[in-house]
Assembly symmetry: none
Homo-oligomer: 189 residues x 2
């Protein structure tokens, strides 16, 4: 009777590299959206700051950040000083005001100076889906200021490699950083 339902619905797939290029692209797009949505929910529910950097198989770079990728990285850097153990749990908005202010000022300045003319700067993409909102910005067009920013952050983190415990869950490196904020990596899997 209903046997001619030519295989509709989801099926289990093997967790290995997808060969088919077309399917790979589709899967990547779908899962990227799903991942970002999850990240956004985590932010909404827990007020957690989060940054995701992601490169597609084709080489395109995507990112997700709350409140922003740079801010989060900054937080890592500045955390190097164990000032307050766990003071600001849910006030990241407050904590971000200075950053917000600074960026606003920068933007305003740029606009007034007309600096943007002929310059290539990054353009974030605002995505919305059923009330969920997040940014996808192509970091492949970072301007120099941001590059220096990131470079500094990376350099700092490299030097500050100082870790506590490290756990492995599902092939993923999960690194709890108490205060010294060590940066985990290496053995990505």
């Amino acid at each position: 009777m209903a046997e001619n339902r030519s295989s509709k619905g989801r099926k289990k797939i093997e967790m290995k590299k997808i060969r088919n290029e077309e399917y790979l692209q589709v899967t990547f797009s779908k899962r990227r959206a799903g991942l970002f949505k999850k990240a956004n929910e985590l932010y909404s529910l827990c007020g957690a700051e989060i940054a995701i950097l992601l490169s597609s198989p084709a080489g395109t770079v995507f990112s997700f950040g709350h409140p922003s990728v740079e801010t989060v990285i900054d937080r890592f850097v500045n955390r190097g000083t164990p000032q307050e153990p766990s003071v600001l749990p849910s006030i990241n908005h407050e904590a971000n005001v200075p950053e917000l202010t600074r960026r606003y000022t920068d933007i305003v300045t740029q606009l007034e100076d007309g600096e943007m003319k002929g310059k290539e700067l990054k353009a974030p993409v605002l995505n919305a889906n059923n009330g969920d909102l997040w940014w996808e910005d192509p970091l492949d067009t970072l301007d120099l200021e941001d590059l220096q920013h990131l470079k500094f952050a990376v350099g700092y983190m490299k030097e500050s490699l100082l870790m506590n415990t490290r756990t492995t869950v599902n092939n993923a490196v999960i690194a709890p950083h108490g205060f010294g904020f060590g940066f985990h990596n290496g053995l990505g899997s």
Copy 2:
């Protein structure tokens, strides 16, 4: 007979900040694991490089990376040299910039002056809905939570201002890449 199964099973939850500290922590842990798992699958299936930096509400920092956080960020930095902007659309926004600039300046000023007092802020509220954008001039109260709204609004404003081509796809605003001005990720919170 089996009615004493006191409410088992998953229930839908509201996507709002969780108040209960204990529950917040549990949810964070679970979702963090889920997020990392998703990230790992994305890596396995698509071979995508990925890095996630995440701070818990308590301030603890976690990271996930394939092949490593460091590597991924490094790639961003090193690949970030702006390529040739193939298209730089002529944007006629001069008329709008002054007004917007003034408004933003006002907001910034107020943020700087009052935000740290941890009280209510007075600023014109920028609203965005379906790509439309307007000012709610009556100086409403802009509390810290409203910064999110402001962020979204800024995104819309930016696009409205700088993107001469804007397409709406499935409830999402998609902005062409390659031009725009320099902040990303909704400029901080």
